[in-house]
């Protein structure tokens, strides 16, 4: 008997009425993961511990909607006692001695962590192919990339292994793989979720978020993981709220903006066409949709490159082989140890970005590049604020194309940034962004639409997302429902 293909409300009732037990769900999840092993969605499985926890839950009251449900965690989020590699050789054997705040919250809800998902090394990449543990594969076509960096989380949700996964998004790393894999991925407002325990890539951009098969489940998971955390000075002073509250409400009168930049020449025609169809649908249902220009959008990628690589070069300095992680053997002295440990421990993409970042902060460069980027970013945020005075939401495609081949060349260092050119602006302005599947290309690979909201207006994004989801009623199970 299968349960994980049901909605969470139904599963919750089954658990509550004791018709099923958490262990049934956990066993099913591991069965699914085993059947989908070729996806390479996980770096580490937590099977023994998960089964033990599931057993222990049998004595507890089923007190919330997420109780007993399996969840997958991106491998850059620290889990006490459970290996956390960040997709890197340098942390290949690293076992954290504390839980990230988001993990504490997940555990408070008695969700069960099934494993740590595959990802680009230190979340640097757009195809998850920079993982030290090999690339995950797209459930819609095993020859295609999942996107990245949260590729493993996207794949395991898309394949219906589990209902919930956590990803992280510094420059589109939740939304872009969600788009390639045909799932719902939310990057909330910067500061919504405590970053404490998320291994930093670019501190001023990083944000975690839920990845699920549908909008409602996404909102339910977000409910559980937000909140001010005294351990993270950048976490927002916002109380809890019910992100599902606007789901199902109609969208009549909603004002929506489409930035021309997001519908530019770099975007594949098939993708644009699908977005236009969706826009037509929204208009038909009483929303107004205007095409507008937003200043600085075309510069967002440059700002991103400067800020992300600059911060990363500093954030990744701590991986030196002294207190934790890999340490090179046979070194002559401390300097030798630094060079060898980091030279051997980091992969190509990471080394490249750390070196560029070091250059950008070197000497007078910090003023010329980093501080200037921070200043223009301030202006860019102001531009977005102007837009949100007139419009409820911004929409456009999530990615310029659908998922490409795993064998496509990786030698262009600009490629991974270009892949994310449409998703980066939301990170630069700290705004919430979400992917919602809106159709397929000619090869039946998913196409995603991006919804960008004003700060702290995730509920409104879910409102629009759920409306589109309901209207389109796409079959989003790779291979179709029956194969599941």
């Amino acid at each position: 008997m299968k349960y994980l293909n049901k909605g969470i409300d139904e599963i919750h009732e089954l658990l509550k009425s004791k018709k099923i037990k958490p262990i049934d769900l956990v066993e099913e999840a591991f069965e699914n993961i085993e059947n989908n092993k070729e996806l390479n969605a996980y770096i580490t499985l937590n099977k023994e511990e998960a089964l033990k926890e599931a057993k222990e839950l049998e004595n507890l009251e089923v007190d919330n909607l997420l109780f007993g449900l399996p969840i997958a965690i991106k491998d850059n989020i620290c889990t006490n006692g459970l290996r956390t590699t960040c997709g890197s050789h340098i942390l290949e054997n690293f076992v954290p001695i504390y839980d990230a705040t988001i993990i504490e919250k997940i555990k408070e809800k008695h969700m069960i962590i099934v494993g740590k998902t595959n990802m680009d090394e230190f979340a640097m990449g757009s195809s998850s192919r920079t993982s030290y543990f090999g690339a995950p594969k797209n459930p819609w076509n095993l020859n295609k990339i999942t996107g990245g960096s949260s590729g493993g989380s996207a794949a395991t949700i898309s394949a219906r292994d589990v209902l919930f996964a956590i990803g992280s998004d510094t420059g589109g790393s939740i939304r872009q793989p969600a788009s390639y894999c045909g799932i719902v991925g939310m990057k909330p407002t910067y500061g919504r979720i405590s970053r404490y325990g998320l291994i930093a890539f670019a501190s001023s951009l990083d944000q975690m978020g839920p990845m699920t098969k549908n909008v409602y489940e996404n909102a339910v998971l977000l409910n559980a993981i937000v909140g001010r955390d005294p351990k993270d000075l950048t976490s927002a002073k916002r109380g809890e709220e019910d992100f599902t509250r606007l789901i199902g409400k109609d969208i009549k009168g909603m004002k929506i903006a489409v930035p021309n930049f997001l519908m530019g020449d770099v975007v594949a025609k098939e993708v644009k066409d699908k977005i236009k169809e969706t826009i037509a649908l929204l208009k038909k249902n009483g929303a107004t949709v205007d095409y507008i220009d937003i200043k600085y959008l075309d510069q967002a990628m440059i700002l991103y490159q400067i800020i992300a690589m600059g911060e990363a070069s500093s954030n990744l300095a701590r991986f030196d082989g002294i207190r934790y992680g890999f340490q090179a053997e046979n070194v002559k002295n401390i300097e030798d140890m630094y060079f060898e440990t980091r030279g051997q421990g980091f992969g190509e993409e990471v080394k490249r970005r750390i070196m560029v970042g070091s250059y950008l902060l070197s000497g007078e460069n910090a003023k010329v590049y980093y501080n200037k980027a921070l200043s223009i970013r301030d202006d860019m945020r102001t531009e977005f604020q102007k837009v949100f005075k007139k419009y409820d939401l911004i929409i456009g495609p999530t990615s310029v194309s659908t998922a490409y081949d795993l064998t496509d060349p990786m030698d262009d260092p600009r490629k991974s940034f270009m892949d994310d050119v449409l998703v980066i602006p939301a990170n630069m302005a700290g705004l919430p962004g979400m992917n919602i599947p809106v159709g397929f290309d000619k090869d039946h690979m998913p196409i995603g639409m991006q919804i960008i909201g004003n700060s702290f207006e995730e509920a409104k994004m879910y409102q629009l997302g759920s409306f589109i989801e309901k209207e389109l009623s796409l079959d989003l199970t790779p291979g179709g429902e029956k194969s599941c």
């Binding site: 001023s204 002073k237 207190r323 340490q327 980091f346």
Partner: protein, 102 residues
């Protein structure tokens, strides 16, 4: 011919980053870094630079922590993940030179 960084420029950033590179890597990165730096160079074309910088993405200021002690690690936990240790200490290969900092 492709534009690339000079060998010295590349070795300088590799040194700042404490990353050992093979000859092959040096040649590859000289080309790749040039491409990325050409991208970010474009920021010079963007107008509007003042002292207002956006450190975090909204207008919230730092909330200070009360000076109250929290839980601490057992020294055994401190050395648990360290590749080398001696007694309660974390050990590193011999240090050359003096600290740059405080």
């Amino acid at each position: 011919m492709e534009e690339k960084l000079t060998r010295e420029e590349l070795l300088h950033v590799a040194n700042l980053a404490r990353i050992k590179l093979t000859e092959e890597e040096i040649e590859k990165y000289r080309v790749q870094l040039r491409k990325l730096l050409d991208d970010v160079e474009k920021i010079n074309e963007v107008e509007g630079y003042d002292d207002d910088i956006l450190i975090a993405c909204w207008d919230q200021n730092t909330e200070l922590r009360k000076d109250e002690e929290g839980s601490m690690l057992d020294p055994k936990q401190v050395i648990e993940n360290a590749p080398r240790h001696a007694g309660n200490y974390i050990e590193v290969p011999v240090v050359i030179g003096e600290s740059e900092g405080a």
